[in-house]
Amino acid sequence: MEPVLEVKDLSISFTQYQGGTRRRELPVIRNLSLTVEAGQVAAVVGSSGSGKSLLAHGILGILPYNSHMEGELRYKGQPLTPKRSEALRGREIVLVPQGVTYLDPLMKVGPQLRGGRRDAQAKARSRAVLERYGLGAETEELYPFELSGGMARRVLIATAAAQSPGLLIADEPTPGLDARAAGRILGHFREIADQGAGVLLITHDLELALTIADKVAVFYAGETVEEANASDFSAGRLRHPYTNALWNALPQNGFTPIPGAQPWPGEEGSGCPFAPRCPRRTEACVGEIPVRSVNGGRVRCLYPEGGERP
């Protein structure tokens, strides 16, 4: 079966003015590749500032005007042109954003859910979808500031589930929630995937992502460094040194930090952006790093763990 979403060599850059007059292109995402299958939850995991949200905006075609996107996007086998993503967004491709600031502060929940429609059918539908997420009909009459954090998340999911999406993109849907509430919210995404949609979950929380994801793409400084199956993590089949470091930094896996910090956009050197922090680096790491398949996953590293040294 065709994947719902294919992203191939996607690059997103911004035009920036330095000192008012000097223009420069600031690459934020470089050569990103990833696929999302129907019925699957694919997680994109990376720390803040790695360009994750822009991936969502790029797929939806709502990047800011001073940005530039290159590469190949395909939705259900057909190229996702700006025109097509405009036609599909909000219907076939839906977004679940971070939190309550994404709701109009002066509009009641009901009209926001219905997105401008006022007919009886739309009303019945919004009521049903609220009920599905455990929210009563009175929620429609509330303003966003009257919602709790968990309620706001469920309303946002309801906006997405009110359509019958082929692809759902969840952009950091859980910050500010305790582990149980976050788990419940993620459960809703699993459910939507089980009904046949592809779900792209963008998050910085590897641990939470692993509870529902089928596969995980790890993002570092605007690049995917590894695509792994969710089971690879607990089985110790990880390939990239950064993925390993991320995994070992979790409290239950030793809580081990590594020195250094992720480079800012535009400050990466040539070659592998993780090299300055990598225990396995050699001189060759400043050169071009190809993506290769290792143990059923893909990794952008010259010396992946579990792979043979060239």
Partner: protein
């Protein structure tokens, strides 16, 4: 409801304190003024020909020799009892003078207020929604040009163009010259109010349009507009559904805050067009050392401006659900 009443009560107390402060400041400035009321109102030549008794009488009339504190307290005592005193220049009760002039000015200011508000809001929304387009640049450039132009200068330019060169509008006054007061029509009054009202409107538009534009840009860059786009709403729908709704609150503030600017502008504009409104009377009262009249005008205009801000605050409570529902629950 109770909350609303307490809120209004507090505001009224503040208004009383403000008016007290404003009247005192105006009085102190007047006392410190180097103008000698006798010399300005009677004239040096006339004074020279008068006897000492006549001069003493005049000095008493203008209150030259009374201690300042006594003059102020005397005025304040009468004012609190509802008596604004008698204008020294017009020899009429101050309330009557103000009432008459305010009527002239009010139409002028009301027109300028509504017109500049509507036009400013529309231009601001258009400019903000089509940011960096040629339309936006045109509107912004024009607004910047207008807001850096002094009001009186603009008034003079309009006067030269429409009254002198084209000769289609009168150059001043509120009624035609040489016509019996009884036979002045409403049309005559409107005809004479066009130029001053236009001047006031033009200067008011710039400020409101520029502020509205900034607000609109903020709104269009907000998370909720990004999400609306992600949900497939069109640009028009976003501006109508989210833009107008969210720009309404700052627009109310701007619109009512602009009352003070229009008031200030009217002083200059009425002076240029010799329009017998409140602004021109204020200038006459100040230059002519007419203390009761000046204090009266100061207090009345401060009260109107304060009233405007108060209405804005109260409207907020009606329009903003955070205040409306928050207050209902408290």
């Amino acid at each position: 409801m109770k909350h609303r009443l307490i809120f209004t009560g507090k505001k009224l107390i503040r208004m009383a304190l403000l008016l007290l402060g404003v009247s005192l400041a105006a009085f102190l400035l007047m006392s410190a003024s180097p103008l000698d009321p006798l010399q300005t109102n009677v004239g040096q030549a006339a004074l020279g020909t008068m006897s000492q008794e006549q001069i003493a009488k005049l000095e008493e009339y203008w209150g030259v020799n009374d201690p300042p504190l006594q003059r102020y307290l005397g005025w304040l005592g009468d004012f609190v009892r509802g008596d604004m005193g008698t204008s020294l220049l017009y020899r009429q009760p101050v309330s009557q003078v103000i009432g008459q002039r305010l009527q002239n000015s009010l139409w002028l200011m009301a027109f300028a207020w509504v017109f500049s508000g509507l036009l400013g809001l529309t231009l601001g929304i258009l400019a903000g929604a089509s940011r960096e387009s040629w339309g936006d640049k045109l509107i912004r450039g024009w607004c910047l040009l207008i807001s850096s132009t002094p009001t009186f200068w603009l008034a003079l330019v309009l006067l030269i163009v429409f009254a002198v060169w084209l000769g289609v509008l009168p150059s001043g006054l509120s009624v035609p010259i040489g016509v019996d007061a009884a036979s002045v029509t409403l049309g005559d009054r409107l005809y004479h109010a066009i130029l001053p009202a236009l001047t006031l409107s033009i200067t008011g538009v710039a400020n409101i349009a520029l502020h509205t534009r900034e607000k609109m840009i903020d709104i269009l860059e907000s998370d909720y507009v990004l999400f609306a786009r992600a949900r497939g709403e069109s640009k028009t729908s976003i501006i109508l559904r989210h833009g107008l709704r969210n720009v309404a609150l700052p627009a109310i503030t701007l619109q009512f805050a602009s009352i003070s600017e229009i008031f200030g502008g009217s002083v200059l504009v009425e002076q240029v067009f010799s329009y017998p409104g409140l602004g021109q009377t204020a200038v006459n009262a100040g230059l002519g050392s007419d203390l009761p009249l000046l204090l009266g005008i100061t207090v009345v205009s401060a009260a109107i401006v304060f009233g405007g801000n108060l209405i804005a605050d109260l409207l907020y409570g009606v329009v903003d659900p955070k205040i409306r529902r928050g207050a209902a629950r408290a």
